[in-house]
Amino acid sequence: MYRYDSYDQTMVDARVAEFRDQTRRRIDGKLTEDQFKPLRLQNGLYLQLHAYMLRVAVPYGTLSSAQMHALADIADKYDRGYGHFTTRQNIQYNWIKLEDAPDILADLAKVEMHAIQTSGNCIRNISSDQFAGAAADEVVDPRPYAELLRQWSSFHPEFLALPRKFKIAVIASETDRAAMRLHDIGVKIVRNAAGELGAAFYVGGGMGRTPMIGPLIREFVPLDQLITYSEACLRVYNRYGRRDNKYKARIKILVHELGADEYKRQVEEEFAHLLTLGIEPPLAELERIKTFFVDPPFEKSASDDLDRSDPDFALWVDRNCTPHKQPGYIAATISLKAVGGIPGDASAAQMHLMAELTERYSFDECRVTHAQNIVLPHVRKADLYALWQQLDEAGLATPNLDLIGDIIACPGLDYCSLANARSIPVAQKISQRFAETGKGDMLGELKLKISGCINACGHHHAGHIGILGVDKKGTENYQLLLGGSEGADTSLGKITGPGFDEDGIVAAVETAADVYLAQRQDGERFLDTYRRIGMEPFKEALYG
């Protein structure tokens, strides 16, 4: 994985010093809260309902064991012993004191980590495919391109006061595991007809109150123009993105209002101009970065055999493991969705354990997924049973990847000051209900996503089943959505009808699941059945 050189370390250290100084000026009263707010936000510090929340960047979701250990230590030392992995492959801590924040950033800097630009109206941490470097279907490992973009976007002086936040995802496979087209910019590394690598740019996707699927703006940007093209996309947005209304300020609205063709025309014009300025790093820089992402020393003759005699293990393998490009290896997903637990939460002890297993079984590398789980990307099949036993003992072997229990939920009203309704208890109740009835296992792949308000941090639009918390005359109420999906067949969910109270929404999800079970044909997932039979049968069962 990528390692800092002295330049990268210098930048992160300078940032820690700067933030220490800013915090001092805030505490001295030299900065008002309004003036301090964007500064702390650009260092990942939010003010939530009960305390500060610190969001730490995990660039493209990749962590070493030393980094995971450090994250656990922070949970113990500065929080209440927990960390929460997020849908953007980051980790956040919910109980932070302002005066501790500079020390936490200093602790992070020691393991080449930071909280830079994890919030605020700037280019955020760049996300990627959790199986990068392991997936059999990738053109190349997408992470070097993400790292190139990370460096370009860090402290970019022109783009620190954008109309709104800006999220970039980079993938390099046909199967989109990063919801790339639901980002402000989705970059897909592709090969053209001549066999050269380049980048397809999708611009103007996003969730929130106006969900949009990003249109293709350019099919092929040569690799030695990647940064220049990105700069052009951002400059057009910085100049013309709406600033009169916070809810219309994301780039998706600009692209939508201009039309993709007109936005593209403006970008091309800016791009032609920027090409004359020589702002692109040389390809040698990309080559330098790539050397950090070469394959680990796989054992060439590793066996593909697996002893599946333990049925619990076999079930976990079938559900939570993903084929690897290297024979004899497999990618294992650690579910952070224990039945009745808080989706994405891990205790300090669990993080330490995951760090140890990362070091022992996965060439010292693990990944955070946008579904709030952890992946050990490179596990020798011969080690898989031993790995599973240790996970199982620690309550980390729930075999529910992509099942209804693998819920994505935002923090909701338990933490978030913007929330209309709680997300976590709803997630807990649903996972308990489906575990008790055993229906969770019968349903197969069913992605359930919950947001506590229209900001859609829980990606409810992209869930096969989505739940949206709304405020109904001062009480918490939940709308049900069906038919959303992310990935190659991205679609946006549709609201079924009137909302439900907390118990009602749990029952409604069960009703929708029952409709599917009654109607499904061979091999159909929930989503496939929904797409075939449409909304009506569900409506009838729900409201009939």
Partner: protein
């Protein structure tokens, strides 16, 4: 002409040796309509590129930041510098300590904040980055160029 703009008219930081322009800046509309002004003020919604045909006659461009949260002025500044403008480029308005360095990198070489800034904090802010990751309108050499001996 009448006093066009309010706020303090104290330039607190200036990184130039030449004589400052001693007359008030006009609006972009006024500038485009009359040919002899040498100082203009850009508002966030103005298109900096509209000035380019007459850029040679300008000695002072003020870029107004009614709110520090509105970052359009950063792009305006870079566009002018990229077009070869070498006159004074002044950030005016809600200009705060922690934006000074970014503004400087985008090509501003004088600063006229609404509220006078603490000189010591400002000095620290201008020097905050020992290195930079990307080229901008200043002469700083990006890290990638240093890594590859450019």
């Amino acid at each position: 002409m009448a006093e066009p703009f309010s706020g303090t008219d104290t330039v607190q930081f200036r990184f130039r040796d030449d004589e400052a322009v001693d007359h008030a800046a006009v609006t972009v509309d006024a500038f485009l309509g009359q040919s002899n002004a040498s100082a203009v003020r850009i508002e966030p919604g103005d298109d900096a590129r509209a000035l380019l045909p007459q850029i040679g006659q300008l000695r002072l461009v003020e870029v107004n930041f009614p709110s520090f949260m509105d970052g359009r002025g950063y792009s305006s500044a870079r566009i002018l510098r990229e077009a070869g403008y070498t006159g004074e480029l002044r950030a005016v308005g809600d200009v705060l300590i922690d934006q000074l360095n970014d503004l400087r990198r985008c090509g501003f070489d004088s600063f006229q904040p609404d509220q006078p800034l603490d000189a010591e904090d400002a000095a620290r802010a201008f020097a905050v980055w020992p290195e930079v990751y990307q080229p901008a309108a200043d002469a700083r050499i990006p890290i990638w160029a240093k890594r590859h001996g450019h």
